[in-house]
């Protein structure tokens, strides 16, 4: 977040609804966006970007941009993200023009291959420089696509996280887990595309439709902006009498939320409900109560909208964002400095040599009395050095030799250690509840 982003209000002409643009990058992105265009989401503009001229020509999207015509001659990036990135950088001006005027840019891409991995981060960066809120919807490859794809996807995801305001991941493998094993490949891909479409549809509704309880573009910005983080979304629909309960159950069962676990760790959650005119106050209450319970401390924003096309149905879209882990976020900001080589134990300097060499030991040490080195035979010196080295590395908090803790936490039962354990359905109730439920206190 180094660039200053002009707020939407500062735009020359005040607009009623924020302009939303959906750009599909790469083959998967094009397909998904084409599907969205057919799904009849009005007020959205769709565009496609690819390095492959043939696919681009087939796509029904209204606006298309071929990347790297000179570099690849329109034959695709061949699964090479670097090539795609170069192609995108070469067309920076055209990309910038493509997303000009958008308040919200949704970058839809399938990561792992060439164009999606390479060009999507570039597009996201350019759009953000233009002042748009950039959300990236990224589909991660299936396991069967191989190790290399996975790695490329990981890398691209890191870059995308840095470039976009928020990245919403759709791990295809998880989606596949939701489906029957006998599903055909075509259907699987169609399904994952539909998940993307659903996600966009939920966001679109949020941004464009007026709600009874308003949650809008500004709220979305509030939730995702600045968090640059692992966001996740889930959407579900239910009808019938118990729809309020079912819809939450469905959302929580969704692999996108890791069975609700991600929700518990989220620090900002946006919930958008849509129903027909028969949407009841009770149902909204019921849904929110359940969600509130799961993420009590998150910054929760609720929107509820009534839409005639949802008669009898209740749809729930949930966007949860968590501040990214400080260790993972700046991972590839710069080529990581080579880790300082840890001196092997036997080489650990001792005595005066240590004081001179180790800059982290301040001058205070110099005032300490340091005995002159005793006269030693070489073997004795060797032995002494070894011993001191062992002690020294412990004192230094074991820079290299730290013993990892096993994840098995042995919980002491405190005052109940000697009494008869209280076992209820196989759980030892003497162990603190928060430990048994895995609630992190941070």
């Amino acid at each position: 977040m180094t660039t200053e982003i002009p707020s939407p209000a500062a735009a020359p002409a005040p607009k009623k609804t924020p302009a939303v643009q959906v750009v599909g990058v790469g083959g998967a992105g094009l397909q998904a966006v084409a599907l969205m265009a057919q799904a009849g989401l009005s007020d959205l503009t769709f565009a496609g970007v690819h390095t492959d001229a043939r696919l681009l020509a087939v796509s029904p999207l209204p606006r298309k941009l071929l990347l790297g015509a000179s570099l690849t001659r329109g034959l695709g990036a061949g699964g090479d993200p670097d090539m795609a990135r170069a192609a995108a950088e070469a067309e920076a001006a055209a990309l910038r023009e493509l997303c000009a005027g958008a308040d919200l840019l949704l970058v839809v891409a399938g990561l792992g291959k060439g164009t999606g991995s390479g060009a999507a981060p570039v597009l996201a960066r350019l759009a953000r420089e233009n002042g748009a809120l950039v959300l990236a919807l990224a589909a991660l490859p299936f396991d069967f696509e191989g190790r290399r794809r996975q790695q490329q996807a990981e890398q691209a995801l890191q870059q995308l996280k840095k470039a976009a305001d928020a990245v919403i991941c759709l791990p295809n493998q998880k989606v596949a887990g939701m489906m029957d094993e006998n599903t055909t490949l075509v259907e699987t891909f169609k399904f994952t595309n539909e998940m993307l479409v659903n996600g966009v549809r939920g966001l679109w509704r949020l941004v464009t439709r007026d709600g009874l309880v308003k949650a809008d573009f500004a709220d979305l910005c509030h939730v995702v902006r600045g968090r640059q983080a692992e966001s996740c979304f889930a959407t579900a629909e239910a009808m019938g009498e118990n729809r309020a309960r079912e819809v939450v159950e469905q959302v929580l069962a969704s692999p996108m939320l890791d069975s609700g676990r991600l929700l518990a760790g989220a620090d900002a959650v946006l919930v958008s409900l849509a129903g027909g005119a028969d949407l009841k106050q009770k149902e909204v209450n019921q849904v929110m109560e359940q969600i509130n319970r799961l993420c009590e401390n998150a910054d929760l924003i609720v929107g509820a909208a009534v839409d005639a096309e949802f008669a009898g149905r209740l749809s729930l879209t949930l966007v949860a964002a968590r501040r990214s882990h400080p260790e993972t976020a700046p991972a590839d900001e710069a080529p990581p400095a080579p880790a300082e080589p840890v001196p092997p134990a036997s080489e650990f300097p001792t005595g005066e040599a240590a004081l001179g060499a180790d800059a982290s030991v301040p001058a205070r040490s110099l005032q300490r009395y340091v005995p002159p080195p005793p006269d030693l035979t070489p073997e004795m010196a060797e032995r002494l050095l070894n011993r001191q080295a062992g002690a020294g590395s412990r004192r230094k908090k074991g820079a290299g030799l730290r013993q990892e803790m096993l994840p098995l936490e042995v919980v002491s039962k405190g005052r109940f250690a000697k009494s008869e354990p209280t076992i209820h359905r196989g759980e030892d109730l003497d162990t603190p509840t928060y430990i048994r439920r895995g609630v992190a206190l941070n």
Binding site: S412, H424, Y434
Partner: protein
């Protein structure tokens, strides 16, 4: 100075955090008033059961002495409250065929059917504490409260049985007897609390009484005026303290103090980021703790207790019968916002149990911690009442004679 009074009833509850003795006076008109209360910090009890008999006996003596002093009576016998994870409650049915030719159900038949209901197949080391009659069934017709004088071929009775392990029940009895006191009867603490807290109307409507003690949590379900379900969960306020001590890495005594001062059953979003500073012996701040963590640890524990109880009650199919809602007593009822949490878990109105059916010393009666001990006194008054109604033997002979005469 002390005068033994036959109308004095004393209830003694040997709790995990305190020993509590309550002295009640039964007036000749049959009204019950509380005249003395004594309590002492309990040191020899874990999870509702005595683990150190010597210190427990000392604490009992102190509590009783205080109560005697206040009531100005000498306590000779007590009604003793018992608890612990070994107590179980279940419903049983006894059957009896009416032998008489005219199929007239008599008092003897009722005694017989009750005896049959008490004949329960239990392990030898178990002792039955209560057999509470629920209702009679005459030839399949349910819901009969008193079958004497009715006609029928089969008489059945539903009873609620509470039983426990004999040796573990003997421990508190022995501790009391060691002080040269008689134990009139032992009573399940949860039942005693429900007697103190519920009026006839709530029993009729259906209510769940939860006694959130320090060591154990007892619960009793009343529906249609009768006890339907009882249970004990050996989890209580001590567990909250222990969780806090573990989670916040502080000593037990400090955890206890923090629990009382800053505890809450719900985590308010407003406490996010707030801290509590711990002072050392000199009153200087030593460490600061995250208030949200404290509340979360506590809230999760209390919520779990409620969830387990809600689960049990629902499995017994009784959750829909609790039209009067849930009543909380015991020290846990003092946790701020515990009602709010309870309402969320049970989906029922939750209120703090108040002992409103006994006169005298209102300040004492209002405290949820004393519910069990007061209930013991009330239980005792029922027993006394029953004895008194039976009266001296002459009356008994007279009534038997009248019965015989009436039958002809």
């Amino acid at each position: 100075m002390f005068s033994p009074n036959p109308n004095t009833i004393t209830g003694l509850e040997i709790g995990t955090s305190k020993v509590c003795a309550v002295v009640g006076n039964l007036s000749p008109e049959g009204t019950l008033g509380i005249v003395g209360v004594g309590q002492a910090r309990s040191r020899g009890v874990r999870k509702g059961e005595i683990v150190d008999a010597t210190t427990a006996a000392e604490d009992i003596r102190n509590a009783l002495a205080e109560a005697e002093q206040m009531a100005d009576v000498e306590v000779r016998s007590i009604y003793l409250g018992v608890s612990g994870a070994h107590l179980r409650g279940f419903n049983n049915r006894g059957r009896h065929n009416i032998p008489s030719v005219d199929r007239d159900i008599t008092e003897e038949d009722v005694q017989d059917v009750l005896k049959n209901a008490k004949a329960i197949n239990l392990p030898a080391e178990n002792h039955v504490i209560h057999v509470v009659r629920q209702h009679f069934i005459v030839d399949g017709q349910e819901g009969i409260l008193n079958p004497v004088g009715m006609l029928g071929a089969h008489l059945e009775v539903d009873v609620h049985v509470v039983h426990g392990v004999t040796n573990r029940l003997q421990n508190p009895i022995r501790a009391v007897k060691g002080l040269q006191l008689e134990v009139e009867d032992i009573v399940f603490n949860g039942m005693a609390s429900s007697l103190a807290v519920l009026g006839a109307q709530e029993k009729e409507l259906g209510a769940l009484v939860i006694d959130l003690g320090a060591g154990v949590t007892e619960y009793v379900v009343y529906a249609d005026g009768i006890i339907k379900h009882t249970g004990v969960l050996a989890v209580g306020g001590d567990h909250v303290t222990n969780d806090l001590a573990y989670g916040l890495k502080i000593s037990m005594s400090r955890a206890e103090a923090l629990k009382i001062e800053h505890g809450s059953a719900v985590v308010d979003p407003a406490v996010k980021g707030q801290t509590v500073s711990l002072n050392n012996d000199h009153g200087l701040p030593e460490r600061s703790l995250n208030l949200e963590h404290l509340r979360r640890i506590m809230s999760l524990r209390v919520e779990e207790i409620f969830e387990i109880i809600a689960d049990e009650v629902e499995n017994a199919g009784l959750l829909d019968y609790l039209r009067a809602g849930v009543f909380l007593c015991g020290g846990g009822a003092r946790i701020p916002h515990v009602q709010r949490l309870g309402e969320r878990v049970f989906g029922l109105p939750v209120s703090l149990g108040r002992t409103k059916t006994i006169s005298g010393m209102v300040a004492t009666l209002d405290q949820p911690e004393f519910a069990a001990a007061i209930g013991l006194v009330k239980f005792g008054s029922f027993q006394q009442d029953r004895h008194r109604r039976r009266g001296p033997w002459l009356n008994r002979v007279k009534s038997t004679l009248t019965q015989i005469l009436q039958r002809d």
